[in-house]
């Protein structure tokens, strides 16, 4: 099953299970979703529950919020994460804060699905990975699946969570296939990292579409005699701090890979976590592999030059491994 089909299945199962649940967004109904994720849902659940909205991102998020506050959990779709700026107030000041500001009177079961990511020559306004904006923000969970199985299991957990969740789907993963379990009980809990590859020498933490690159980098590192451990946190808020810290304790080296820009990206946050909680075990500098601090260029060669590549991850791992500080040696 493809990543897109896994998303579609998760929505369908949850809509079957909860007749109050609805989804709203641009072109999600008759058209089937800008990238096809919601194909068929309109026919199956009807117009009221699969609502084609005007191109009005603020009203889409606000409509999801208002309905959710009054009894109808919502899945809002914004076709490209780059458009989140159009509804930033509704997300930042309304969705993420209303429960808190009301002293807990309100529940906000709103999942905001959107697509992110580059490598597609989509230009500077259709290629961004803005997850770091949102992990800064209390009151909204941030989920980034890296494969179809997780997409299915995490989306079901997000919908059932009963809280605001930003669900970030990398466009480059949409056609990736995976063995998504049929079981109606299958879910992936929010806040649980996955150790994708076990190793003792260096921890490579990667999110979204970078997880595959991290795995490829780990394969290449074997040729260098290095056994890398690859961790996919799967959700950035909540963050599975224990899994990250345990791995760094084991390896003493950390490389964080993300497609968000390096400056102000969540790599800095994870580096701070490792420094704070695993300082004594670090045997080399924490390295970040991230997008260069420039808008996404259009031309494929230019774009590839500013986005993380497998070779960058390998290099970063070898650079930190070149430090064999005795300080952290257990």
């Amino acid at each position: 099953m493809s990543f897109a089909a896994a998303i579609r299945n998760a929505i369908a199962i949850e809509m079957d299970a909860n007749p109050a649940l609805f989804t709203i967004g641009e072109d999600i109904g008759r058209y089937g979703g800008e990238l096809g994720a919601t194909a068929g849902l309109y026919k199956r659940f009807g117009e009221d529950r699969v609502r084609d909205a005007p191109i009005s991102e603020s009203a889409i998020i606000g409509a999801a919020l208002g309905a959710a506050m009054t009894g109808n959990p919502a899945i809002a779709e914004i076709p490209f994460g780059d458009f989140l700026g159009m509804c930033m107030d509704q997300i930042c000041n309304q969705v993420a804060k209303i429960r808190y500001m009301s002293g807990g009177q309100v529940r906000v079961p709103v999942v905001i699905r959107t697509t992110i990511g580059g490598y597609l020559s989509a230009g500077a306004q259709h290629s961004q990975s803005l997850e770091s904006w949102f992990i800064h923000l209390p009151g909204i969970k941030v989920v980034m699946p890296s494969n179809p199985v997780d997409a299915f299991g995490l989306l079901r957990s997000a919908i059932q969570d009963g809280n605001p969740v930003l669900f970030l789907e990398h466009k480059g993963l949409y056609s990736v296939k995976g063995d998504v379990p049929d079981g109606s009980d299958f879910r992936v809990p929010l806040g649980c990292a996955e150790i994708v590859r076990e190793g003792n020498d260096v921890t490579i933490l990667a999110t979204g579409a970078q997880v595959n690159r991290a795995i490829q980098a780990a394969d290449r590192l074997i040729d260098e005699g290095v056994k890398a451990e690859v961790i996919d946190p799967r959700t950035l808020n909540p963050l599975d701090e224990n899994a990250i810290i345990s791995s760094v304790f084991k390896t003493g080296h950390l490389v964080v890979v993300h497609e968000a820009w390096e400056r102000g990206g969540h790599g800095g946050e994870i580096a701070a976590l490792a420094s704070d909680k695993a300082f004594g075990s670090l045997r080399g500098p924490i390295k970040r592999v991230a997008a260069r601090n420039t808008p996404s260029p259009f031309s494929p060669e230019l774009e590839q030059s500013v986005l993380p590549q497998v070779a960058d991850i390998v290099r970063a791992a070898l650079e930190t491994l070149a430090f064999k500080s005795e300080v952290g040696k257990k």
């Binding site: 109050a20 609805f22 009221d48 529950r49 609502r51 909205a53 005007p54 009005s56 991102e57 603020s58 009203a59 998020i61 606000g62 409509a63 999801a64 919020l65 208002g66 309905a67 959710a68 506050m69 009054t70 009894g71 109808n72 919502a74 107030d89 509704q90 000041n93 309304q94 209303i98 429960r99 808190y100 500001m101 009301s102 002293g103 807990g104 009177q105 309100v106 529940r107 906000v108 209390p138 009151g139 969970k141 059932q160 969570d161 009963g162 809280n163 929010l190």
Partner: protein, 336 residues
């Protein structure tokens, strides 16, 4: 204790309703006067925006609603809470930042919420509540299939915000049960509307979305109630949204402590002579529905409610510090 409710389905006689409207307006006035006084005495943290002068639009519009209808409100929202049937005690305690306040002291003046009366929240962001109102109306009409109506209160300033236009368009496109209640007090903060808008007839904005609209003297509580009843009735029948422009004026500055030096004397004099409570009192006196004594008694009763609210707030405990870190999220999977 609150003033008698002038709600739409109360089945009261006209005289009962008119007295309830007067009483509710007076309660808002005395509440706001006291808040201004307490603020001056540094009893209240933060800052407050008072709605003195705008009582008729809040009360007139909310008098057309049932308890299970919804409203969204603004930074100038104390009057809307009282008009919808909120408890002055819990609002005053919230303004004090006390644990017994509506939001446990975590919201404050601009975020008063009372889900038990369908008050979905005041809002510190101009136009922030309009899309939420549209969503509540969508849920009611398209999903839950109830006949609930949602009123979105906002000021003239919000009509120049993007979400205003998105919300009007969406509500009109899907014939949602929303009443867009624009309290046009002529000024967005300190800037007069006609300096920043090509028209001072805000119903034009609604006509652009093929939406029913009307402009009403927002200081005339009966006129406001009359158009609100029609708008709410249309919404309940499934005939879609209405835009109401309630022309009114705030007697105080944008926020307490601000001197509204941007107002001309003529403008002030004109509007102060059209005080909504004075106007309605004069009407009821002329119809012999009240006399000076009964008005005085009504006022005393209202002042007592405000006194009790202040006492309640004063003797309420401050929030426990752990409260600062709770309610960011509901427990996962928690049902309402």
């Amino acid at each position: 204790m609150t003033a008698p409710s002038p709600s739409a389905n109360s089945g009261y006689s006209e005289i009962d309703i008119e007295l309830a409207l007067l009483s509710r307006m007076l309660l808002i006035r005395r509440f706001e006067e006291r808040v201004g006084d307490l603020f001056k005495k540094n009893k209240l943290p933060g800052f407050v925006h008072l709605c003195i002068g705008q009582e008729a639009s809040a009360v007139g519009v909310c008098s057309a609603l049932r308890t299970d209808d919804f409203i969204t409100s603004t930074h100038r929202g104390h009057g809307h809470v009282i008009a919808k049937g909120g408890d002055p005690k819990f609002m005053m305690a919230e303004l004090y930042g006390k644990s017994t306040g509506y939001c446990g002291g975590k919201g404050g003046s601009m975020h008063i919420t009372d889900m038990s009366i369908g008050m979905l929240g005041a809002n510190g962001i101009v136009s922030g509540g309009l899309p939420i109102a549209v969503g509540a109306a969508y849920g009611a009409k398209q999903l839950r299939k109830t006949d609930q109506v949602v009123v979105a209160f906002f000021g003239d300033g919000a009509t120049n915000e993007g979400p205003f236009h998105e919300a009007l368009n969406m509500a009109a496109a899907w014939k949602l049960p929303v009443v867009f209640a624009c309290e046009n007090n002529l000024y967005g903060c300190g800037t007069r509307l006609d300096r920043v808008s090509p028209t001072s007839d805000l119903t034009q904005r609604a006509r652009g979305y093929s939406m029913r609209s009307c402009s009403v003297d927002g200081n005339d509580v009966i006129a406001t109630r009359t158009v609100a009843l029609e708008a709410v009735s249309q919404a309940r029948l499934g005939n879609g949204p209405t835009f109401l422009e309630c022309r009114t004026f705030r007697h105080h500055g944008h926020y307490e402590g601000e001197t509204p030096s941007y107002l001309s004397k003529e403008e002030r004099d004109y509007w102060f002579a059209r005080d909504p409570i004075d106007l309605f009192k004069a009407l009821l006196l002329s119809k012999n529905q009240i006399n000076e004594d009964s008005y005085k008694n009504l006022d005393l009763g209202v002042r007592q409610i405000v006194d009790e609210a202040v006492e309640f707030a004063e003797r309420s405990p401050k929030p426990d510090l752990v409260a600062a870190l709770t309610d960011v999220f509901a427990e996962s999977g928690e049902t309402s």
